[in-house]
Structures are given as structure tokens and as C-alpha cells.
């Protein structure tokens, strides 16, 4: 791996919208107040009894000129874009570099499949309704294309869809494009919205928690689903920018489609690669934001991996007790939460965790801590054994 030439891109803008609310301050407040966004509530007509992290306000349609694109996922994307001056930050980059020099890399797992689900209920004589548009709603690229058009960008663009690691891997793809000089800036992010496919699907795999998700808990029983839109602006010229993507690492488990390698070898490889790219030793990481879905298998495998690489002392926690598992948006959302931790000098506790699993040996934070942070590692591990770790840092 060619780690020696990695120039850390600057992160010059970031924002998130999730069950915790709209924008950075809502998220910072929820973290400080230890207030989860998860609720025991039904999603539309889903009859499953589960806790979910839903975003309010998605019943408002997109403006008429975007009617072909009007779906829950794009309404969520639109809401997410309109926070924290993100659109204005992208406009400045577009003005500075040119529209064709700003790329777009968006992660999603289900894209607009909610509309496909609805369309199938309106089948008439074996035809789907006219309002249902495949390219601009269902297709996996649709949300990346929506963001690209909405921001009037024509740099290299793609959707990345690797299940739960999607919007962590967008950072790697963007970093490669920036490093090769294909673009000077890139919008990276993740958008995934609640839908019956994932609610019933994870339920069929028996991966959904009986109550709220409790990462690392002795009695944890699975995940809670959430939805989110998170966006970040990366720029090649770091200058004196405060935040940086200092490293990334990617690997594959080569083990199973829906269960992690219990030894965590793929997770170790991804984390090690991120550290190597950043040219730092494990003890230089101040906090690890875990993938930490709350499933019995993931949390144990991830712990094995992190203890093998870091020992037992690095403070770590999953923030999915706050937001739920936002699938294709998780990588970007949790990168934003990691940046908030860096900004605030704040190590979030493992929320909803009552009693740590005695088999878990890592330093799971059972209460929130305050300390200046220099580097945070964020993990995202997805179905198909796709692993990605991101190292985020503040300029010394």
C-alpha cells in the first residue's frame, strides 16, 4: 500500500441531520444531554414493534421542479443540505475551483426503495404507477445525482453502496480522486432513510433489538434502525484548515454475507491501514467511535479487533444508542459526530448501555468524559464484509 504519498485533505464544512435533529448544534446538544433520538414507534404502516430513529418533517414534498426526484430519501438529503451553511460552503468551493473540479461521492444502501415499495402497492394491471421514476428515485445513484444537480457540480461523481460502510468509503474514494488531481474539492456524504425493506429485512435476520439498541451491553439483542443525511466538504489544499482526514483504511472480511468475522481480522486490517496511512501509532488515537451496532456478534468481533491493535485502554463507544444504525449514512454521520467530539473535547459515553458485557475488554465509556482530543478513529463495517476506518484529526 502506497501510504507514503498521502496528503490529508482538509474538511472545510460538515453537517448532519438525524433523529437527533437538524444540524450540528442539535447533535452537540443531544450528545451533551445524553438524549437519544430513538423512539419506540411504528414507521408508517410497518407492524413490527421496534425502536427507530426517525427524522421529523419529511412529509414536506420537494419543490415542483424536483417532482421527478420526490422521495423520502431526497427529502432527507434536501433537509440535510440546508443546515450549517453547507450549500454556501460548496458554492464558495465551486466559485473558487470551478464546477467540474468539485466531485460528489455519496453513500446509500437503499436509496429511494421506499417509493418502489409504495409503487408496488399501486400496481394496476401489472403496471407501476406513472409517478414512480426509477432513475430519479429508486436507482442507487439517484441520491448522489440529486446532490450533484442541487449543488450544480460536474466533477467526478458516483454513489458508493457497500451497505453499512458506504458513507465511510466515500471518504476513501474522494481522497483518491483528490490525490490524483481529478478534482480540487469533493462533497462526500451519506443518505439513507427508513423503509420497510430494512425494517422487515433486519427483522428476518433476527438482528433487530427487542428494545432499544444497547451497544456493548451484556444483554444487548441487536440494532435499532435510524435514518440520516450527513455531508462534508473535502478540499485538497489543506492550508490552515482545522479539520483533516488524516487516514483511511479499507478491507474485506472474506467471511460471510451478513455476519462479521468473529476474529475481526478484516476490522484489524482496516484500522491498521488507516493508522499506516496517517503514519501514526495506535496510542496516538484519543477516541474510537465504534461501528457498535448493538448486535451480539458485531460488538464482540469489533472489540476483539480493537484490543488486538490498541490494547484495552483507548476510550471508545458507539453513538448508535443516540441515532440508531443509519446504514448507508452511518459512516458520514459518525464522521460528523467524531468531528463534534474533536471540536468540543467531548468523549461520548456508550448510550443505553447499562452493564458492559464482561466479554468485552475494550475501554467502553460508561460515562461521558471531557478532554482535549487530537485524533479520532471511526469504524464502519458492512454486509458482505466491507470494512472502512477513518482517522479524523484536528490540526496541531
Amino acid at each position: 500500500m502506497n501510504a507514503s504519498h498521502f496528503e490529508p485533505p482538509a474538511i472545510t464544512a460538515f453537517t448532519a441531520t438525524s433523529a437527533l435533529g437538524r444540524g450540528l448544534e442539535a447533535h452537540a446538544r443531544a450528545l451533551r444531554e445524553e438524549r437519544s433520538g430513538l423512539r419506540r414507534q411504528a414507521f408508517e404502516d410497518c407492524t413490527l414493534d421496534t425502536w427507530i430513529g426517525a427524522v421529523d418533517g419529511l412529509e414536506i414534498p420537494l419543490p415542483p421542479q424536483w417532482s421527478d426526484w420526490d422521495c423520502r430519501n431526497h427529502r432527507l438529503a434536501e433537509l440535510g443540505l440546508n443546515q450549517d451553511g453547507f450549500v454556501a460552503a460548496v458554492e464558495r468551493a465551486r466559485a473558487r475551483y470551478g464546477a467540474q473540479r468539485v466531485g460528489v461521492f455519496i453513500g446509500t444502501s437503499t436509496s429511494g426503495v421506499r417509493e418502489t415499495e409504495r409503487a408496488y402497492r399501486e400496481l394496476r394491471e401489472d403496471r407501476l404507477p406513472d409517478w414512480f421514476q426509477h432513475r430519479t428515485m429508486q436507482n442507487t445513484y439517484a441520491v448522489a445525482d440529486y446532490v450533484r444537480r442541487r449543488l450544480a457540480l460536474c466533477g467526478p461523481s458516483a454513489a458508493i453502496s457497500t451497505a453499512c460502510s458506504s458513507s465511510a468509503k466515500v471518504f476513501a474514494a474522494a481522497a483518491r480522486a483528490l490525490g490524483a488531481g481529478l478534482c480540487d474539492a469533493a462533497v462526500v456524504g451519506g443518505v439513507d432513510s427508513l423503509c420497510l425493506t430494512t425494517l422487515y429485512g433486519f427483522h428476518a435476520l433476527q438482528l433487530v433489538a427487542r428494545d432499544v439498541c444497547r451497544p456493548a451491553d451484556a444483554e444487548r439483542s441487536g440494532l435499532s434502525l435510524g435514518e440520516a443525511a450527513a455531508f462534508l466538504l473535502l478540499e485538497r489544499e489543506a492550508g490552515d484548515a482545522r479539520w483533516r482526514l488524516e487516514g483511511y483504511g479499507e478491507s474485506s472480511d472474506a467471511h460471510h454475507m451478513s455476519a462479521p468475522d468473529p476474529e475481526g481480522r478484516g476490522a484489524i486490517a482496516a484500522m491498521r491501514a488507516a493508522l499506516a496511512r496517517a503514519r501514526i501509532a495506535p496510542q496516538e488515537v484519543d477516541y474510537i467511535n465504534l461501528h457498535g451496532t448493538g448486535t451480539p456478534a458485531n460488538d464482540l468481533a469489533e472489540d476483539r479487533a480493537l484490543c488486538a491493535l490498541f490494547g484495552r485502554d483507548v476510550p471508545c463507544s458507539s453513538t448508535k444508542g443516540w441515532t440508531g444504525h443509519t446504514l448507508g449514512a452511518a459512516g458520514a454521520l459518525e464522521a460528523v459526530l467524531s468531528l463534534l467530539a474533536l471540536r468540543e473535547g467531548f468523549l461520548p459515553r456508550s448510550l443505553n448501555t447499562r452493564r458492559k458485557d464482561p466479554r468485552i475488554e475494550g475501554a467502553i465509556l460508561m460515562s461521558t468524559r471531557h478532554a482535549p482530543l487530537r485524533r479520532v478513529l471511526s469504524n464502519s463495517f458492512g454486509f458482505g464484509g466491507s470494512n472502512c476506518s477513518l482517522l479524523l484529526g484536528v490540526r496541531a
Binding site: Q100, T140, Y141, C154, A159, R176, A204, S252
Partner: protein, 265 residues
């Protein structure tokens, strides 16, 4: 792209009338006519027997082109990084899931659910080959080949990883077909390397430019194929590689620009 030059070490294909690279070479050189014919059945050498049954059609199609390419790649498959690119992955599964969800108290098949992820092919590939390196799954609708090629080039050139690119799409079943009429199944695979390889099919230089006309195929049947499946947008590049010819192939990309691929003399 900073003058990055790459070798194409191997190519693979599975498409009507182009069931493998050897046949495709003859057709693309003009040495044999293109005979439109259904893909003959084939059996993966890499998927373990129980996975051969469970793997969805789109995954098996991706494996066909990948295994075809690997027949000419001397190093272990497990050392390859991978980029899988597809516009719609397995729409048969999405169809089944949405049909099920249209009824009250739906019982989703857990296998269908984990097979419905866009990166199912990449997941099966890494399991079948024990490949633990980076693997990405890209989607850019009709421009998925161009987007996949770019990402594979960046992995090979930027991170010095020999990289397998697999591009594939299958015809959606009705009623989705009307909304996304991909008429036939096809997959294409390339193995890219930053090293200058003596047996390479060709050396490429790739650049991204503002909007440009995409390359077309002169033969009407091949031009129809090129537009019938997002994976077959690759045909103009495959033609140059089959002929061992220098030249340029241009591809529409998803960012409103174009990818220029120069096969070097």
C-alpha cells in the same frame, strides 16, 4: 490524472454473442461475425457449491466475466483489490421483496435481504476468493462502467494495488422492466495494474474531460449491444484491446463530463 499509466493485464466478458474474451476478441477484430445468441449456461469455478445455488443471478453473471478475466491472470485472485460497478444489481430480488412487502404481515426471506445489498457480488467474490483487500461497489446509472473504471484506475495507480474491475447488469423483471428496460444480461471484467506488464493487452492513460461525444461501435449489432446494457458501454475500449490497437475510447460519465481512455501504442 498526473500522467498515470496503467496496464490492462486481462479482460473478461459475458454477453449475448460475446460469451467470453476469446470469442469477443475474434468478433471485435472483425475476424468473426457477431452472432446474437443467449449466453450458454456456465458454472462458476470459484463459488462454493452451496453458494452457487444461493447466489443471485446478477452475482453469478458478475462472476462469469471475472473468472473469464482471471483465466489470464497468473497471480492469486486473493491479492486483487476489487471494484464492482452496476447500475441496478439484482432487480429480481428487489422485485420479490417489494411484492412481499405489498402484503400485510410480510415475511421477508433473510437470504433475499442480505442478497439485496448493492454490493452482494463484491461480498460473494471476496468470500469465494478469500480476498481481504479493499473492495468498492460503485453505481453511476448508465455511466457505471466509466465510474468503476475510474475508481479501479485510482486504486491501481494511486494505491499500487492490482485491481479487478467487474461491471454487470441484468434485465429487471416486469413490472420494473418498463421503468428500466435493460434488454439483456452482460458483464465485463478487467484486471488493471500500475506495473508495466509484458503480456498486457494494452497500456492505458485515463483523463477526465468536460462533456464529449461517447465512442460508438461501427457495427450496428455491436452498437445496439453497447446501449442495451450499462456494462457494455465498455465495448469501445474492448475493441481497442482486442485489436491490440492504439487509439482513444471516450465514455460519458455521471458528473456531466467524459472519460477519455487512450490505449497507448
Amino acid at each position: 490524472m498526473n500522467g498515470m499509466t496503467l496496464s490492462v493485464a486481462a479482460a473478461g466478458i459475458a454477453a449475448p454473442g460475446l460469451p467470453d474474451w476469446a470469442t469477443a476478441c475474434a468478433v471485435l477484430r472483425g475476424a468473426a461475425p457477431h452472432v446474437a445468441a443467449e449466453l450458454p449456461p456456465s458454472f462458476s469455478q470459484l463459488l462454493p457449491p452451496n453458494e452457487r445455488r444461493r447466489a443471485p443471478p446478477a452475482v453469478r453473471l458478475a462472476f462469469r466475466a471475472a473468472e473469464d478475466a482471471l483465466a489470464r491472470w497468473p497471480l492469486p485472485a486473493e491479492r486483487l483489490a476489487a471494484v464492482f460497478a452496476s447500475s441496478d444489481a439484482d432487480t429480481g430480488i428487489i422485485h420479490r421483496i417489494c411484492q412481499t412487502l405489498a402484503h400485510p404481515a410480510p415475511q421477508l426471506s433473510p437470504t433475499d435481504f442480505h442478497n439485496s445489498v448493492h454490493n452482494a457480488a463484491a461480498g460473494y467474490w471476496s468470500i469465494a476468493t478469500a480476498a481481504r483487500g479493499p473492495s468498492n461497489t460503485i453505481c453511476a446509472y448508465d455511466a457505471s462502467f466509466a465510474a468503476g473504471l475510474l475508481e479501479a484506475a485510482l486504486l491501481a495507480g494511486g494505491e499500487n494495488l492490482d485491481t479487478l474491475l467487474v461491471v454487470y447488469d441484468v434485465p429487471p423483471p416486469a413490472p420494473l422492466y418498463e421503468k428500466r428496460p435493460i434488454a439483456l444480461a452482460a458483464s465485463v471484467a478487467l484486471v488493471l495494474s500500475a506495473r508495466a506488464l509484458p503480456q498486457a493487452l494494452g497500456r492505458l492513460r485515463i483523463a477526465r474531460v468536460a462533456r464529449a461525444q461517447p465512442s460508438r461501435m461501427d457495427d450496428a449489432a455491436l452498437e445496439t449491444l453497447r446501449l442495451a446494457n450499462p456494462a457494455l458501454r465498455a465495448l469501445p475500449l474492448l475493441r481497442l484491446l482486442a485489436r491490440g490497437a492504439a487509439g482513444r475510447a471516450t465514455f460519458e460519465d455521471a458528473g456531466d463530463g467524459a472519460l477519455c481512455v487512450d490505449v497507448l501504442p
